[in-house]
Amino acid sequence: MTSAPEHLDPALRVEALASLLAERGLVDEATVETFIKTYEQSVGPMNGAKVVAKAWTDPDYRARLLADGTAAIAELGFKGPQGEHIVVLENTPAVHHVVVCTLCSCYPWPVLGLPPSWYKDPAYRARVVREPRRVLSEFGLDLGDEVEIRVHDSSSEVRYMVLPERPAGTEGATQEELAALVTRDAMVGVAKVASP
């Protein structure tokens, strides 16, 4: 058989690669497992939700977050790979931000975890740039024509996170209660945060 490896079963290819890397002492199996567990269980959108809830209730924090996303996010203990240059975009009644990575899948891991499959999909990556209003509508988010939509292309230099609008009816809510309302989709900009 001389077929290129990309035509072989990926599970077998991963096994072959992993066994060679382990034999050569290039990766430590425990480290691999730790990374997998971390991103499966500990790092996810609930981190970003805490950031958003704090920004909604603490104007000084909100200002710091918009001025230097990475630093303000690190204040809450969220840092790590893909979190070096996070820029936070604030949605308002007049301007709605939505995030994409047109080239691959750049995404702010420390606050949102790993990207969902639709974010990595070629269709989303191409279409949200060309016809954002329509794509958002397909996500169930119909924005009036008076709302300006800005599409932001994440890259290795900048990874974007959206600070959604605080929903009505949450005036007396605690940060914890607010964080429970915030979804991943709202922090990518394909949804709004619904009122409780």
């Binding site: 290819r13 060679l20 269980q41 996810g44 790979p81 969902p116 499959s117 269709a123 397909e138």
Partner: protein, 128 residues
């Protein structure tokens, strides 16, 4: 077909609220198969150990995705983690960590294992 990549087909977008929805919270599935998580973990571990540069890996991933998309304009058969795995294979080869020929030989050895049998020429498999 409602697979990803169908340009005017909106089903894949609506999937974000259906049973195939990607994770919203902690503890939900972020990988579709064990090999995906392993390919992910290997790349991070190699970077963590200083064996690969993340930007090299990302550039490779962008190129692999671009090549795939050019060859599959309808998006049929898209697999993000297959692109990820291919990028990883290319980067470890270019860094001289695991050459393509060595990988090929190991693949052939693994593929020729008797079904349901994990020994034979699989010397590398001595996990605790």
């Amino acid at each position: 077909m409602t697979g990803p990549g169908g340009h005017s087909d909106t089903a894949y977008l609506l999937d974000s609220a259906g049973p195939a929805a990607p994770p919203r919270d902690n503890g939900e599935l972020v990988f579709a198969a064990p090999w995906e998580s392993r390919a992910f973990g290997l790349a991070l571990a190699l970077h963590d150990a200083g064996r690969i540069d993340w930007e090299d890996f990302r550039r490779s991933l962008v190129a692999v995705i671009d090549t795939w998309q050019a060859a599959h304009p309808d998006g049929e058969g898209w697999s993000y983690y297959e692109c990820w795995l291919r990028s990883l294979e290319l980067v470890v080869d270019s860094k001289g960590l695991v050459g393509a020929a060595d990988l090929r030989a190991r693949l052939d050895a693994l593929a020729s294992r008797p079904a349901g049998h994990d020994h034979g020429n699989d010397h590398g498999h001595d996990h605790e």
